[in-house]
Amino acid sequence: MSATTLQLLLDELGYDEKTVGTALNQEFVRARDRAETRLREGDAVEIVTPRQGG
């Protein structure tokens, strides 16, 4: 991945940004903060979508 921000990573992976939730290093990142959230080597990014659950 070459993306430098979380938003660019979502774009690169082709996610519909309205139906995903994001976290960086176990901290929630709001949708409106993704464009300013810079990614660094070794960061742990979570991208999640709605799924069945009990």
């Binding site: 995903v20 939730g21 994001t22 929630f28 709605p50 799924r51 009990g54």
Partner: protein
Amino acid sequence: MNDPVRLYDGALSSRLLLGTARYPSPAILAEAIRASGCEIVTVSLRREAGGARAGEAFWSLIRDVGARVLPNTAGCRTAKEAIATAQMAREVFATDWIKLEVIGEEDTLQPDVFGLVEAARALADEGFKVFPYTTDDLVVAEKLLDAGCRVLMPWAAPIGSGRGVNDAFALRALRAHFPDTPLVVDAGLGAPSHAALVMEMGYDAVLLNTAVSRAGDPVLMARAFALAIEAGRAGFRAQPMTPRDMAEPSTPLIGRPFDRLA
């Protein structure tokens, strides 16, 4: 019968909350939700595997069904994970309701009640309406209420076990100790009679998943649970008789034919 249950800002006519996992197909899930008459379904957040778009398709199905969603933090093992998952869920599902799970033990999926209380407090402080999946421990329940929870969801038995009520005394004690707190039995029920039993104890609602989704006929089982929950609730409100050790004739003895006249 007008007997709604209030869970935070929701006044619900159905006392059944239904999980959406492990059904044979999306169509059967949708049909089971309708057959149950439930107004709340639980959902989760997961990573999307291999560029699939399963999440969008599922979310579209749930929106079509029209039930209110209760997102969970299933699988989280620390308060930190659960808090971040709840925050993501609030944004994705546009609700401040969260079914809070912090799992502490693998074999029983028993809640880590220490992490649960910690996460509940943090989330309640952020304005979440927390539905904590907890044990039947009275002290933990007290601490969850102190943390800001206004609904408690004790287990009956381990998740997915279908065992029914493991400790009836503990569940009765919890109900008696918190007469004014909405209590939802979550996890471990397997048969409609289990649900009827906890409703007769005075529990306010029941949350089910595996008992319905893994039944031979999930749609029929959803309906069976709905009926059992309604029957159990009516039985509780009707105040059952006190059991006796010995027989007592139900038919009057006075005027019995062949009785010897005194």
